[in-house]
Amino acid sequence: MREFALALMYSGMLTVPPTVATFDHLLDWYLFFGVGAAVVVIGMLVTFVILYRDKGDNKPLPEHKTEGWKIVLITVMISISILAAAEYQTFASFSNIETPSQCSMVPDPCINISVLGFQWGWQFTYPNGKVQLTTEDQPLTVPVDKIILLNITSRDVFHSFGIVSLAVKEDAIPGRYNTLWFNDTNLGLVTMAIRCYELCGAGHATMVGNLSVVPYSTWQSEFGVNTTG
């Protein structure tokens, strides 16, 4: 699903939502460091196996120091620098996954939708008080190019609300309200975009929902607070 969406994005047909951009940017860094480190270390291992394999000669081996604190120190230094660089990138993108600051401003330009997890489905409460349960033709409907703030909780057990195509996920916990935000920049319907990511009983696999992104005016007339009257 996401691969397909990504392929479209990179071909210029779709734009990349900011949460996805943050994730992709960070993932690129981690892949760069991670794959790099794996290739180097596994490469060393394979090289040493080939270089120093038992060739059947009985030449005496050179004397070995048992301790190589210098090498240990170098290992630690390299590890720390790579890990610190990766962690720095994580911290740099942290601000992007927090609630956007403009949501606290008045008038509030962010759209608040309450999400209630239950066994087994999701219930959305829109700004105009409209309540909808996830079904095949009742997607989570959001306006395009707007910051959407989801306030997530659960009615019964531990769920986890995730829209992986938007790189967002947050646990839905009874008695607790967690928030996440996204800003979908592409119009359209994404089927099965919403999934539960914590085992919540027999219906866990079917706790899916669609995501529909519509123009703001359409959305406003059906779900928004009518400011004019």
Binding site: R2, F33, G34, R53, F94, V157, L199
Partner: protein, 779 residues
């Protein structure tokens, strides 16, 4: 070795469950297993593999080889070891039995996230929980035994710097177990009491019980990963030099890194499992840094394994192949772990197959491959025969390929949730899952080669040279008997004439004698039937508790309780009659604990795990107090003056117990008896007041079914104070036993260890009360 084979048996059960899941997931929209059975399979696969296979198989190897490696005759407390094994088996029986009760087994995932797990109907889940409590008790006893053995039973000359790496890593593992498992007991005891007694720790919606569970579970759960992994690393570090022809690179750095960084830090990273529970961003950052920091010692360890080949002569025999495989898989699993340490990336990876791939690379790849290496490496020592090298190599190649075909595709399934029993045909899910399922069968099929090789070695293998790998370690200085009887695998070795295994040893203790050779009176300790009676008594009692209420439940509880009591009484009687005389203690290398006796060391180790146990319960209580918006005010429920009086009584009993110890230190048995009697009276008075308080509270409506917040306060009060009361009662029973022995004229000025140790225990109980009293009565 009984341990080893039992764990293999549980491993097969876990593997069958895994294969069932892979069949179900092999194609989309499959209904081979319904969600009901799939959830049970996924849960019990995790629990059985982690608790009844991975940890015990390493402990099984350790049980056999740690005493050999340190030159001890056996572990420090043979009966404790038997007790540990039977408790482990009893817990396992309960877990497996749970499949056959109405409602089926536990099905909330091995993490048992609450409140789902306590709300699951049926007694299967309770059976599993109580089985886990037995298992954790087994682990705690086993840990005490290993710690004391490794620091106290080393042969002369076996100083710490000569300790083989496997033994070192078992010591590290055991220490982690000692401090992690009490929290597991606390978590599952609270959850079980919710299920059986109706307490409200995880059902009260007012206190965010999911978060309480997450904290308790993962405080245990993360160290558990290292508990699974470290024995494997010990095996690698132990055997690599024999296959590279050069010493282990940076050996001391590995030890320092593990002891000073991995062990303490493993208890400080648990919240990385909770990044998305809504914890503050600062906490996420802190735990992200801690998590990423714990990878640094592993970088050192991994690279040192790799460096150990430089300018060596690498022999690619089966054990070494498995070592290399384990290291490669650990590198992959470790690096995906670094990905997961980022709270931002976790927004996509959490709860997905990426996580599944990660921990299987670590816990199956690194841990199991290195244990396979250990099996091939040590099987000549165990059977006196050599395994089939060609078959071993084929086993490695197919395992390694099968493993990667199985788990590597899961890295790309980062958008697929874990633990869904079926999935629609979207994206590449069908393809990747299909590949993984094929891999599962390749990997599982490869293990039949291991079984074949083990059987071949056992019955047909060519005799192995005494030290096939040229190892300097002590286990190879003694020889197994060549034709072992498969029915009695543990009794196959004989003590050779003691030989100097390291030149400078003046009087080497005859290393590596097993039970038979160690002398009848010592060996007999193994054959005491008390541990099995105790364990099965506890098991039957807890089974009854799981089925509670009902006539069957009460019957089982009565039978189990009676068996337990009879066994306990029998054990005490055996001791009073000196049926099992302890073997004479030999001089050994005990630095830095020369001055401490074996029993006292055991008691200290036990108390340190008790601290964590009470600490976990009290931490849970403090969490509840913090999370509950309203809570009964101090003084409104508990009688503070009465509580204060009781506190003074218990504190005084601590003083009188001290005077009792002072008396016997001066050899005055009569005064010992007097002071012990006073202590006993004070302790009984404490319990008496306690019981009257409970009766009053119960009759005044302070019960589990009271309205919120009283039900919550009652749950915490009855369970935690009750746990302390149970400790006091156990202390009183022990005191009766000690007084009987005193009356028989047992203790003298020189020999009164039991009194001293009991004094420690009693003081500990007093101190715990000093925390409980203010927390429950005054605040």
């Amino acid at each position: 070795m009984l341990y080893f084979f039992t764990s293999l048996y549980f491993g097969i059960i876990g593997a069958i469950l895994a294969l069932l899941m892979r069949v179900q997931l092999s194609v989309p929209n499959n209904f081979f297993l319904s969600a009901y059975y799939y959830d049970q399979a996924v849960t019990m696969h995790g629990l059985i593999m982690i608790f009844w296979f991975l940890s015990p198989i390493a402990i099984g190897l350790a049980n056999y080889f740690v005493p050999l490696q340190i030159g001890a005759k056996d572990l420090a407390f043979p009966r404790l070891n038997a007790m540990s094994y039977w408790l482990y088996l009893s817990g396992g029986i309960m877990a497996v039995l749970s499949f056959f009760v109405p409602g089926g087994s536990a099905d909330a995932g091995w993490t048992n996230y609450q409140p789902l797990a306590v709300l699951t109907p049926g007694s299967g889940t309770t059976l599993v929980y109580l089985g886990l409590v037995l298992l954790a008790a087994s682990i705690t006893l086993g840990s005490i035994n290993f710690v004391v053995s490794i620091i106290w039973l080393r042969a002369p000359g076996m100083s710490l710097d000569k300790l083989p790496m496997f033994t070192w890593f078992i010591l590290f593992t055991i220490i982690a177990m000692l401090f992690a498992f009490p929290t597991l007991i606390a978590a599952f005891a609270l959850a079980s009491s919710d299920r059986i007694l109706g307490t409200v720790f995880f059902t009260s919606t007012q206190i965010q019980p999911s978060i309480l569970w997450d904290n308790l579970f993962w405080f245990f759960g993360h160290p558990e990963v290292y508990i699974v992994l470290l024995p494997g690393f010990g095996i690698i570090a132990n055997i690599v030099p024999q296959f590279t022809g050069r010493p282990l690179a940076a050996k001391n750095a590995i030890l320092v890194a593990t002891a000073l960084v991995v062990l303490p830090l493993s208890f400080g990273v648990w919240m990385h499992h909770m990044f998305l529970t809504g914890i503050p961003v600062d906490l996420q950052g802190a735990f992200s840094i801690a998590t990423i920091a714990i990878s640094i010692p592993f970088d050192v360890i991994t690279l040192s394994f790799v460096e150990s080949m430089i300018r060596g002569r690498v022999k690619l025999l089966t054990p070494m192949l498995f070592v290399l495989g384990a290291v490669v898989l650990f590198i992959i699993g470790g690096i995906t772990g670094v990905f997961l340490s980022s709270p931002v990336l976790d927004r996509v990876f959490r709860g997905s197959y990426f996580v599944v791939a990660h921990f299987h690379y670590v816990m199956v790849g690194a841990a199991i491959f290195s244990i396979f290496a250990g099996i091939y490496y040590w099987i000549p020592r165990f059977t006196g025969r050599m395994y089939n090298e060609r078959l071993g190599k084929i086993h490695f190649v197919i395992s390694f390929i099968g493993f990667n075909v199985l788990y590597f595709p899961m890295n790309f399934l980062f958008d697929m949730p874990r633990r869904i029993f079926t999935y629609p045909n979207i994206g590449n899910w069908a393809l990747l899952n299909g590949i993984a399922s094929v891999g599962a069968f390749i990997f599982a099929g490869a293990q039949t080669l291991l079984a074949a090789n083990l059987l071949y070695t056992w019955f047909r293998g060519p005799p192995s040279p005494p030290n096939p790998w040229g190892s300097p370690d002590l286990e190879w200085k003694s020889q197994p008997v060549l034709t072992p009887s498969p029915t009695a695998p543990t009794d196959t070795s004989e003590s050779p004439p003691a030989g100097g295994w390291i030149g400078q040893l003046a009087t080497p203790a005859s290393p590596a004698t097993e039970t038979h050779a160690a002398g009848a009176e010592h060996g007999e300790a193994h054959y005491s039937s008390r541990p099995i009676q105790l364990s099965f008594g506890a098991m039957i009692f807890l089974m009854g508790a799981a089925f509670y209420p009902g006539i069957l439940a009460i019957g089982l509880m009565v039978i189990g309780g009676a068996l337990f009591a009879v066994a306990l009484g029998g054990w005490a009687r055996d001791d009073l009659r000196h049926k099992f005389a302890p073997p004479p203690e030999e001089e050994g290398d005990r630095w830095p604990f020369q001055g401490v006796s074996k029993m006292k060391l055991g008691m200290w180790v036990f108390l340190s795990s008790e601290i964590v146990l009470f600490g976990s319960f009290l931490a849970a209580y403090i969490f509840i107090r913090g999370a509950a918006v309203t809570f009964p005010a101090p003084g409104s429920i508990h009688d503070i003056p009465l509580g204060t009086l009781n506190t003074i009584i218990l504190a005084t009993s601590g003083l009188t117990m001290f005077l009792a110890i002072q008396a016997i230190r001066q050899g005055d048995r009569r005064r010992l008896m007097q002071w012990m009697s006073v202590t006993f009276m004070l302790g009984s008075t404490f319990m008496g007041i306690k019981i009257s308080e409970w009766v009053n509270l119960g009759s005044s409506g302070f019960t589990l079914s009271a309205p919120y917040p009283f039900n919550l306060a009652a749950s915490a009060y009855y369970i935690i104070v009750g746990l302390h009361g149970a400790h006091v009662t156990a202390g009183l029973i022990m005191m009766v036993y000690l007084m009987k022995k005193t009356k028989d004229g047992e203790y003298t000025k020189e020999s009164h260890e039991a009194i001293e140790n009991f004094g420690l225990y009693w003081a500990f109980i007093d101190i715990v009360w000093c925390f409980i009293f203010p927390l429950f009565y005054l605040l």
